[in-house]
Structures are given as C-alpha cells and as structure tokens.
C-alpha cells in the first residue's frame, strides 16, 4: 500500500481538484504548505494534505501544484476547507504567494515587516551582516591579512551556510547584471567560495 496518494494538479484546475477530493471522501484538511523550488524550477510548489477519517487506514491524499515564481497566484481553497485559511495566510506572507479569493491579512508577521523570509534567495540579513568567527583561517588573528606568515590574500575564504558568496550578493561587481534568485540561493549553502564560472 502506498504511503501517500499524490496527485499533481495544474494551477488552473487546483480549486476543482480540491473540491473533488473532498467530495470523494477526503474531508479532513490536514495542512497546506509551500516549497520554494528555486534551483530546480522557477516555481513555488503548493502542497495540500487531506485525510479520509472514515478510512483511517487509507493513505493521505497529497495534492500538489506549482505556480510561477514571478507571478505566484493560486485560487484559495478556503471555500472548500475553512481551515486552510491560516495555512494559506502563512504561505502568502512567508513566500509571497497570492491566494486569490482568500484572506489577504498577515498571520504571523507584523504589518510593517517587509520581505518574504522563507524564499531561498531571501538572505538571512543578520548572518550576512555579522562577522562569522569561522571566516578566519588557522593562523589568522585580528591583524591585517598582509602580515608576514598570514595566509595569502588570494586564498578563497570560507562562507557560512545562509550567507551567499559575496561576489554574488553583497559585494557584487556593479558592472554585472543583478544576481538571479537561483544564483543567490545556490551560493548560500556555505563552504569555500566557488571561483567565477563566467
């Protein structure tokens, strides 16, 4: 027996598919979430999990759809499951997805918060601004790098997870075009800074 029943739905058919699933017996709304697929595709994946409480042994029904990252709009399923409202509001404020016909109010973030924190290209500002103690090389202190015996300035620095390569974000060469979200997200995994690939 499968662990889940998964259906991929196009965004245009989303509301109808959710209504059909409820009418088929999956009447318990479990949760709705959002995944930033940057790096695989320029989309957000919306995931909805339903259960049939009359058949508890049946696998959960998982419905997924994708919306374009540069125009993330999807029908709200609040008319089918009122309980989806909070989940949609959370996904909306943290990822920037618009649930058409849903409640537009923020749920957790304060009204004056700006940004979409759970997008993978959204830089963790505190980490980017705070000096990472691990950036130093063994044998390096607070003294300027050009001291004799210090590591050569050309040695690639380490960056911590969550902070993009400064060449991509932060200290980017102004002559280059702005970094695309995939580039920012990919460079924030930490480790030795990669050499230029261009």
């Amino acid at each position: 027996m499968a662990l889940v029943e998964q259906q991929r739905i196009s965004s245009e058919q989303w509301l109808g598919a959710v209504r059909r699933a409820r009418d088929d017996g999956f009447g318990y709304f479990d949760w709705l979430g959002c995944v930033d697929e940057i790096g695989r595709s320029a989309t957000f994946r919306i995931v909805l999990v339903l259960r049939d409480l009359d058949r508890p042994e049946a696998p959960p029904m998982v419905l997924t759809t994708e919306v374009a990252r540069d125009d993330p709009r999807l029908d709200s399923v609040g008319s089918v499951f009122a309980g989806a409202g909070w989940h949609e509001r959370e996904a909306a404020e943290l990822f920037g997805v618009e649930f058409v016909g849903g409640n537009p109010r923020r749920l957790l973030l304060s009204p004056d918060f700006s940004g979409t924190p759970l997008r993978k290209d959204e830089v963790l500002a505190a980490r980017a601004a705070t000096g990472w103690p691990g950036a130093k090389e063994p044998g390096e202190g607070d003294a300027p790098v050009s001291r004799p015996g210090a590591p050569a300035p050309s040695r690639r620095r380490m960056v911590p997870p969550g902070v993009p390569d400064p060449a991509v974000w932060g200290e980017r060469d102004p002559a280059l075009p702005p970094a695309d979200p995939a580039e920012v997200a990919e460079s924030a995994v930490g480790g030795r800074i990669r050499r230029n690939r261009r």
Binding site: L108, L109, S110, F113, G115, P117, L124, A125, A126, R127, T130, G162
Partner: protein, 137 residues
C-alpha cells in the same frame, strides 16, 4: 494585578516572581517553581518584584514583554529583570532569525543574564537567592 500569576517565592512576601514563559526555558522555571506554596501573593514592605523572561522573544511579541514589565512596576518597586537562558539573553541559537529579538536588553534594562540552553532550575533558584536588597521605587 489581574491576570498575572505572581509567585510568592519564599512564602513571606519578600520576593514576588512572574515568569514570561515563552519557550523551553519556561519548563525549567516551572520545575523550579513546582514546590512553591500557593498562598495568595502579597508584596511585603521592602519586598522585591522579579520578572523572569524565559524563552525566545519575537519582534512581534516584544511589546507584550515590555508591557508586562511596565505593569509589574505598578506594584510600587522597580522590577528586577532576569534574562533566563540564551534566547532571552541574545536570541540564542535563533539570533539570526528574521523574527527574533536578539536579547531582551534590546527592550528592557536587564539585571541578570543567566546562560544556558536551558539553564537548570537550580540556576534560577541561585539567582533568586542571591538577589539582595530591593531596588528603590
């Protein structure tokens, strides 16, 4: 003060304590408080008022934490503020979050910072035992 669970720590009105229990550190506070007598708390003359902040403070919740300290001051003495645990002291492991206040000293005058993640209940007991004369109102 309505709605606030004051604890008469030594059962003599000399130390009234309230916990702003926000996260895991609140469990350690509760463990320290478990054997307390349950008589109605009254602040004795010369008694001290302590507000303990236990757990992660988000920017969204920060005004409520400040409001509790302001309300505590209405008891007539300047409250002693204890930052209990890493999150209350600096944001702890969540210091880099988009939503976390990086330590309650961003909001309040803090009298004692207790390190730990979480500190054990005995650490709170030691701090409360060590508080000496009350601050002037």
């Amino acid at each position: 003060m309505a709605g606030v669970r004051w604890l008469d720590w030594y059962d003599d009105g000399s130390l009234l304590v309230v916990d702003v229990g926000l996260a895991c550190c609140a469990l350690e506070f509760e463990a320290a408080a478990v054997a307390l007598p349950t008589s109605a708390p009254t602040l004795a003359r010369g008694g001290r008022v302590v507000v303990v902040v236990s757990g992660t403070v988000t920017d969204r919740l920060a005004p409520a934490v400040s409001a509790i300290v302001d309300a505590a001051a209405q008891l007539g003495v300047v409250p002693t503020v204890v930052s209990f645990g890493a999150c209350a002291s600096s944001g702890g492991p969540y210091w880099d979050s988009y939503s976390v206040t990086k330590g309650i000293d961003q909001l309040l005058d803090v009298d004692v910072f207790v390190p730990g993640c979480p500190p054990p209940p005995a650490a709170l007991q030691d701090v409360l035992d060590g508080l000496a004369k009350p601050k002037a109102a």
